[in-house]
């Protein structure tokens, strides 16, 4: 395992937005490698966690500019590729599940045909094969009556089902890396756990690499192997997920990580007043 080439290597990734009022630096020098594991990226809104996912997929909108000293997918240099080559990777080898199924599915096409389309494009398959594969995929994401759901429109499915449809669509081409951007934050806790189970099985059984972007520290801690904590576009620290909850590891934690953990209400340890976060400007220096 250790000798195996990492799926993704990112070194000094930067995302800048050139606006009329100046340059907004959304990501400032992020480095990490991803193996066949669950890597969590946590941070508050505006910390650059979603932009990191988009930069890997080459989906940063104008006027954003991505630069990196190194960005490789299984040894292939992403920074040297043209738009067309990046597009061929996208969806087929590296895929992304967005946060909200309501805004990410095409409202005027049935969910089944959207999944089938993804398969036909990436696998150059015929309509019949694509349909069969799509039904099998729906079943794999725990949808009970795939044949019925296949013909439904997005507004006819619940939030949890819509998210599973999205996951099915992203996974049907069998990508090696999946970037999940808050895939469960719009869902109820019980549905959330079902979705996580699906993602978890893919990592363990198929050896997929998963980047799990979330603001939920509890979830990341219980689900991921490693965690990157981001603030203001910078990495505060990278740590094994289990250490987030470990009181013995507290002294080694970055003050920002500790601050985030402490402002969460905890059923087991009631407090009259929640701690609030004191942001240190030196963190962004």
């Amino acid at each position: 395992m250790a000798s195996e080439q990492p799926l993704l290597e990112v070194d000094n990734l930067k995302v800048d937005f050139h606006t009329p009022t100046g340059i907004v630096r959304a990501v400032r020098g992020l480095s990490f490698t991803l193996g066949r594991e669950r890597l969590g990226i946590v941070g508050e809104s505006g910390s650059g966690k979603s932009m990191t996912g988009r930069a890997i997929l080459d989906l940063i909108p104008h006027p954003g500019v991505v630069s990196a000293d190194r960005m490789r997918f299984r040894g292939q240099d992403l920074t040297a590729m043209d738009k067309g080559a990046r597009r061929k990777l996208r969806g087929r080898h590296i895929s992304m599940v967005m946060q909200d199924p309501k805004f990410s599915l095409n409202p005027v096409e049935t969910v089944g045909s959207q999944i089938a389309e993804a398969y036909r494009i990436h696998r150059k398959a015929g309509a019949k094969e694509a349909r069969e594969r799509s039904l099998a995929m729906l079943e794999q994401v725990q949808i009970r009556e795939p044949a019925r759901v296949y013909d439904l429109y997005p507004h006819e499915v619940s939030g949890g089902m819509g998210q599973r449809v999205m996951i099915a669509m992203m996974l049907i081409a069998e990508p090696e890396v999946l970037i999940a951007d808050e895939p469960t934050s719009a869902l109820d806790v019980t549905v959330q756990l079902q979705i996580l189970k699906i993602l978890d099985d893919l990592v363990t059984e198929r050896g997929m690499g998963l980047i799990f972007i979330s603001h939920d520290l509890h979830l990341v801690q219980s689900f991921c192997d490693r965690v990157i904590v981001m603030y203001g576009g910078k990495v505060m620290e990278t740590l094994p997920a289990a250490e987030l909850a470990d009181p013995a590891a507290r002294s080694r934690r970055h003050p920002y990580t500790l601050g985030l953990l402490e402002c969460l209400p905890d059923l087991g340890h009631p407090r009259a007043k929640l701690a609030t976060l004191n942001r240190d400007p030196a963190w962004l220096a």
Binding site: E44, S45, T190, L217, L219, S222, L264, L267, L274
Partner: protein, 250 residues
């Protein structure tokens, strides 16, 4: 009787064919903070909309401070019972300044001294006076939610209905808003009903809570029972387990 702030008896709500709240009964004491917990579709927000007078299609009995409420409420009711909504991005008028937003309820209720009241409401929620002439897009999510709380408090109500007041906010901002709500309750002896899907938020803010599923009350419990993770019903136990995070089988 006088000790009861809100009492709901056999509340039923239907939208067309779907029966979304079924025979719901509960009581909230004065000065208490009461949680309504459940998954989407459990009817918890609908209950708040009935209590606040936003939803007029219901049957059953709703009494506020001993007075049985008609479907259409009077002006005095709205002054006494105010609501704070989930989404601070959607619940403020984008073309009205903070000052306009806070002045409107005062004008409706014909309260004098608007200038001083608005200034006080802003300082009560910890916003600087300079924010008064800003538009919502010039505020962060946490600041907007503070404005929404100020808008509710400017009428000096005794009951606040809170519909997921922090679920759209980052955890650090959530902590600030929850602290603010807790301090205001203590200072003004307010009664809260807090709707949330987050059991740890309800555990932090409330004394008692009601777990709902498919429009029915499943279990009422004290926050001590919640903290000890010892609910009586299987559904409440399932919710608690699910909210503890992901667990790998085997």
């Amino acid at each position: 009787m006088t000790n009861t702030a809100i009492s709901v008896d056999k509340l039923n709500v239907s939208f067309g064919d779907s029966h979304v709240v079924k025979d719901l009964s509960f009581e909230v004491r004065k000065g208490e903070s009461y949680g309504l917990v459940g998954e989407s579709g459990s009817g918890k927000s609908t209950v708040l909309r009935v209590l606040s007078g936003l939803n007029r299609e219901w049957s059953g009995t709703v009494a506020i401070e001993g007075a049985v409420q008609p479907k259409a409420r009077d002006k005095a009711f709205y002054r006494n019972v105010q609501m704070v909504f989930q989404d601070p991005y959607g619940s403020l008028h984008p073309k009205k300044t903070v000052d306009d937003t806070l002045a409107e309820p005062l004008a409706i209720h014909g309260l004098d001294n608007a200038e001083a009241r608005i200034g006080k409401a802003l300082s009560d929620v910890g916003l600087p006076a300079s924010f008064r002439f800003r538009y919502p897009h010039q505020l962060s999510g946490g600041q907007r939610q503070r404005v929404a709380i100020a808008r509710a408090l400017v009428l000096e109500p005794s009951i606040l209905l809170l519909d997921e007041p922090t679920s759209a906010l980052d955890v650090s901002i959530q902590a600030e808003v929850l602290n603010l709500l807790a301090a205001l309750r203590q200072e003004r002896k307010l009664t809260y009903i807090l709707v949330s899907h987050d059991l740890s938020v309800v555990g932090h803010m409330c004394e008692r809570l009601l777990v709902m599923q498919f429009g029915r009350a499943v279990e009422e419990m004290t926050v001590e029972t919640l903290a000890a993770r010892q609910p009586q019903t299987a559904y409440a136990q399932q919710l608690l387990t699910a909210s503890a995070g992901f667990r790998r089988a085997g």
